[in-house]
């Protein structure tokens, strides 16, 4: 193979590797951000629903209390109504507690995204540093430099991927499974 062809082959390999690994990392970033958006959207919807339901239950409870304060007799129906409202409030508070856990999950996803972006920036920084001497090199040296850059780029990208274990796979704010061993 001629020097020109060798050089062309190394440049093609470098651009192809850069494109493949860059795309792979950006796809992961996109997936994590979309998942974060789903979780946030659902959590806010759940919290809004819980907030309104708690407000309605408390307003209904207050009406009954006002009735009693105005001198009405405490009948079994009124007692039952108060008990039902109390249960309803508890149920919606529980739903809100489940929804409020969004910060833990979305925080993990955002943290993973940030670490990936920082890692990708470092990989690209290495690419720039590795190519600094190319302008003063001959064709053989350029081929050798590009080969080294390729190897380092692939190694760093694979290392970055393996360090970013995906711990959050949930796409809904429904409560999770429980298993006793």
């Amino acid at each position: 193979m001629t020097k020109e062809k060798l050089l062309g082959s190394q440049v093609q390999h470098l651009l192809s590797t850069l494109s493949d690994h860059g795309t792979q990392h950006l796809n992961e970033v996109e997936t994590d951000l979309v998942q974060t958006s789903f979780l946030l959207g659902e959590a806010i919807q759940k919290l809004g629903t819980s907030f309104m339901a708690i407000h309605e239950a408390i307003a209904s409870q207050q009406q009954t209390i006002d009735l009693l304060l105005s001198g009405a007799t405490l009948t079994p129906e009124i007692a039952e109504n108060l008990k039902a409202r109390h249960g309803e409030i508890g149920k919606h508070v529980n739903a809100a507690v489940t929804g409020l856990q969004f910060q833990d999950m979305t925080g993990q996803l955002i943290s993973r995204t940030v670490r990936r972006v920082i890692g990708l920036r470092e990989v690209l920084g290495g690419l720039s540093a590795g190519s600094a001497s190319i302008s003063e090199s001959n064709a053989e040296e350029i081929v050798a430099t590009l080969h080294t850059i390729n190897t380092v780029l692939e190694e760093q990208s694979v290392k970055l991927e393996s360090a970013l274990w995906k711990a959050v796979c949930q796409t809904h704010m429904e409560s999770g499974d429980i298993e006793l061993f």
Binding site: V97, G99, Q103, Q108, A167, Q170, D177, L180
Partner: protein, 121 residues
């Protein structure tokens, strides 16, 4: 006397929800911000149950469980994982480390309380 629970999680908001749920059910809850903090607190007091997250700085949940199981005082204390991790592989690792159960986040307070009640009464 109220049963004591050590809740280990690096997420402040999650710990707040765990404490809210379990205190409402009558349990006495102590918080730890990561596995290392949890281990130090567990060495200072024998809790009736340990509830721990997996992914935490300084010391993760599996390492905490292994460390606790190495202490004579924690060989029989129930330890539950409360984590976003839901893979069978991680559950197997948890079981092998000495966990007694696996709860996937987000948790429902009523279900969490029921499980805790089932385990320690």
């Amino acid at each position: 006397m109220a049963k004591t629970i050590l809740a280990v999680d690096d997420s402040g908001s999650l710990r707040q929800m765990v404490v809210f749920s379990l205190r409402a059910a009558g349990y006495q809850v102590t918080e730890a911000v990561d596995g290392q903090d949890g281990l130090e607190k567990a060495k200072g007091q024998i809790f009736d149950l340990v509830l721990t997250d997996q992914n935490m700085p300084r010391m993760d949940g599996l390492t905490l469980i292994r460390s606790l199981r190495g202490l004579p005082t924690y060989q029989k204390v129930p330890i539950l994982m409360l984590t976003t991790e839901s893979s069978d592989e991680m559950k197997s690792k948890g079981r092998a480390a000495g966990a007694n159960g696996w709860l996937v986040k987000p948790f429902d307070p009523q279900r969490l309380t029921e499980v805790v009640k089932k385990v320690i009464g």
